[in-house]
């Protein structure tokens, strides 16, 4: 990564990520890219992709990782805290208010029904996300096999995540290393 084009203050980071936090439902990454790259021009398209791939590579909520990397880049620990705090503050307040309101009105049939409808549709959205991500895997039989093992273990057998990751990740990474001559994926 090259040096930042222009400095961004801690309050700038806080306000920018405050806006990102409020801009999407069930995921805010597309809005984050638009604001960071197109509106405020904190990063170029390539720099953002670089930050994104780092954030997806590491554990943790991806958008939180993005806020940490960008906050750190412009303002060290203080910048990272400002960016991450701005990102989470309003969504956290709003979702807790919404939950309290829901508790008040949970006895109303229409409210419960609406909630059931939203959760049914939201499940479909997660399935769609997974299938879109699965498309590039089908080029390689071993990736399909690893994906299937993870699904059977977690969804059907309900194996603890820690065991599954400890057993499957080393195998999968070893295969990827062994077949590293193949096209990148």
């Amino acid at each position: 990564m090259t040096a930042p084009s222009a400095p961004v203050s801690a309050s700038g980071l806080f306000l920018g990520f405050l806006k990102i936090g409020l801009s999407g439902f069930g995921g805010v990454m597309p809005f984050a890219r638009r604001m960071i790259v197109e509106e405020r021009r904190w990063l170029t398209e390539l720099e953002f992709l670089d930050v994104l791939s780092l954030s997806q590579f590491l554990p943790g909520p991806n958008i939180v990782n993005v806020s940490i990397v960008i906050g750190r880049r412009f303002g060290g620990v203080g910048g990272a805290l400002a960016a991450c705090g701005g990102l989470m503050l309003m969504p956290l307040v709003l979702v807790l208010v919404l939950a309290s309101l829901y508790e008040q009105f949970a006895q109303v049939d229409a409210v419960r029904g609406a909630c059931s409808g939203v959760s049914a549709a939201a499940s479909g959205l997660i399935l769609a996300t997974a299938l879109k991500l699965a498309r590039p895997l089908k080029e390689y039989a071993w990736q399909v096999a690893i994906c299937a093992v993870a699904f059977v273990a977690i969804a059907l057998l309900r194996v603890p995540l820690l065991w599954l990751l400890a057993a499957l990740c080393p195998v999968s990474i070893a295969i990827a290393w062994w077949r590293r001559g193949e096209a990148n994926g």
């Binding site: 936090g21 999407g24 439902f25 069930g26 995921g27 805010v28 670089d50 780092l54 997806q56 590579f57 554990p59 943790g60 909520p61 991806n62 939180v64 990782n65 940490i68 991450c84 989470m88 969504p91 956290l92 979702v95 807790l96 919404l98 939950a99 829901y102 029904g113 059931s116 409808g117 939203v118 959760s119 049914a120 549709a121 499940s123 479909g124 959205l125 997660i126 399935l127 769609a128 996300t129 997974a130 991500l133 895997l137 071993w142 994906c147 299937a148 993870a150 699904f151 977690i154 969804a155 603890p160 995540l161 990751l165 990740c169 990474i173 070893a174 295969i175 990827a176 590293r180 994926g185």
Partner: protein, 176 residues
């Protein structure tokens, strides 16, 4: 005195933070396994409702974590769960960001990423499966809504909020 459930919750999310390769969507089955099956902090129906609320509020999809915390230990639980879920991974990210430039193009780094990708997809697929089973239970209309949403989002660029809103209306009318 700190309630034992709050300490337990914090410990669980501190660990999950480091296990959440693929982000928040990948750990939903594990959260469900822990809070419904093991700890009995809530029922399947409660979990489905929290998931719906997390989708109906603006913000990142990791909000499900703070709602689970809220259900277990109130507003403090909601804030603590979010901080625990973000803390360890954020500290790791902060330190790795420093070295990222040096190993970004390293062969071992690319192998790790290619190795983790199919695991991540399997986990998110599991999330979709577990949520569908939990949310739709025995209602064929609910399964239908899940199916229609899946089909529309795979074949069009319609904003997901329209799909959530339409499904909410179907539910509010008492058709599920």
């Amino acid at each position: 005195m700190i309630p034992p459930a709050l300490l337990e919750l914090t410990a669980q999310f501190l660990l999950l933070s480091m296990l959440s390769i693929g982000g928040a969507n990948a750990i939903i089955p594990e959260i469900h396994r822990r809070v419904v099956d093991l700890e009995h902090w809530m029922t399947d129906a409660d979990f489905a409702q929290l998931f719906a609320l997390s989708q109906a509020a603006p913000g990142p999809n990791v909000l499900i974590v703070s709602l689970v915390g809220w259900k277990v230990a109130g507003v403090v639980g909601g804030v603590v769960a979010m901080v625990a879920m973000s803390g360890p991974s954020s500290i790791l990210t902060y330190w790795v960001a420093h070295a990222w430039e040096r190993f970004r193009d390293a062969l071992w780094r690319i192998a790790i990423q290619r190795g983790l990708a199919p695991v991540t997809v399997g986990l998110i697929l599991s999330s979709g499966y577990v949520l569908t089973r939990t949310a739709d239970e025995s209602s064929w209309v609910a399964y239908g809504l899940t199916g229609v949403t899946l089909a529309v989002s795979l074949t069009s660029r319609l904003h997901p909020l329209w799909l959530l809103g339409a499904a909410g209306v179907v539910g509010a009318l008492g058709w599920i």
